[in-house]
Amino acid sequence: MRVELGSACSSLMACYQGLVRVLKNGSELAPFERRNTLKAVAALWQVVNGLDLDPGHLYEIGA
């Protein structure tokens, strides 16, 4: 049932996963980098969720 991702959606998914990874590991991020990335991840979560890709929750990274 899950959607076959086209190239644009695959890029969005990869972007989301990449940003989450950065937030989990990037302790050296400056405040402006971390907070803006959190906002971006919170928005991208809606896309991944809308693609039925079970994005989970983001509370542990602050989103």
Binding site: V3, A42, A43, W45, Q46, G50, H57, Y59, G62, A63
Partner: protein
Amino acid sequence: MKESPYWNPRHETMPRDQIEALQLRKLKNLVAWTEARVPWQAKRLKAAGVTSESIKSLRDLQRIPLMTRDEWMEAQLQQPPYGPLLAAPESAAIRYHLTSGTTGRIPLQVLDSMKDWEWIAEMWCYGFWGFGVRPPDIVFFAFSYGTFVGFWGAHYACEKIGCLVLPGGNMTTEARVKQILTMKATVVCSTPTYALRMAQEAKSMGVDLAGSAVKRLILSGEPAGSIPATKRLIEEEWGAKAADTAGMTEVGTIMVFECEKQPGGTHIIEDHYIEEVVDPETGQPVGYGELGERLITSFGRGFIPVLRYRTRDLVVRVPASGCTCGRTFDLYEGGIRGRVDDMKLVRGTNVYPRAVESIVREFKEIDEFRIHLYTADGRQDEIEVLIEIPEADATNADRIIVELGKSLSQAHEGLRFGVKKVENGSLPRFELKAKRLQDDRIGIGTAGEPRLTARRPRCASSWAVRAPR
């Protein structure tokens, strides 16, 4: 590429078996999340023998215990301020909101994280986009921007869509009307009651709203957005199309919206919620076309998992085929029909405020009204409707009083309604949820309320108010 009329085209047009498969997967995830993160909920699930692994089909939903507002309130009182309902640390929250206080002893208090707050706006996007709101639109919010969540999510939805947002908090009604005109707003968001209030104000200012740039109204907060007579009046006064939506603080956002085809009902956002309709007394499911209480299970706000929550809202669910928009999301015909607790028993006859409103609104001359219940001579329940008729001469006012009394009586099995004209401006006006029913009875005749089943019609058509045309 042609622009989609749907916010999420794939989900909104998904065949029913796929919607149900999606819901089942999300339900399993939600139960697993709840078991792992909310011991208070986990205990209730365990007591009912429910685990995420045991959920094999949507029928298993019925094994999950119902949750009531009273339980939520009690949990908050025992462990203030949020109760043992949070699935994430308070430090992850960025928003705090309260219920509006129209039901219950204490307001419910809720928290949202950044992701949940985005999701709240996302739900409103289904509604705004579905009703034709687009980036060039200029959207005015007649909303007080306080702790009541109300249109907060709608505001951010419009920013997300790319509209120009006009936040109309802390303004007089006159100032709001002026800003709508001067900024050439194309969309206005308010409660149905307040849409009429602004129309009254515009008239007194000598403004023709129907000639303004406003093309759409998005209504929320009261059942009146789907009462045909009220909606028709709003659309006439504004010269614009009006769409009903309904939400609740317990999930933070809307769960139903009316699409551009205006089918006389609201689509359920079924990829983010499971909505069930049950008999409010037995808790047993009722079928399509039958009046019942809606239960909600939400997949959105992870901070406070909501499973089979009793909303007390009365609805009639019908299949998606009741609308021609192409969505496969089922509908609530006539939107939210009222509240289980709304019904009043007057000398053996059930009276619903919504039903009374639908009749009163047939009389365009009536600006404002109030339903008043009282005990006459210390022994008999009486009901009267107080009305303001600003522009009627004495003869016309007398005619309205007689005709309204007759219509109300005919629609309520001959129950006698008093109708009284009161001084213009003497009745309260409302910006948020209107409270037009005042019950001053001393107890006689109220025993047993709420009592729904005795006269509860079993199908949508018979539920509809038998108002004379």
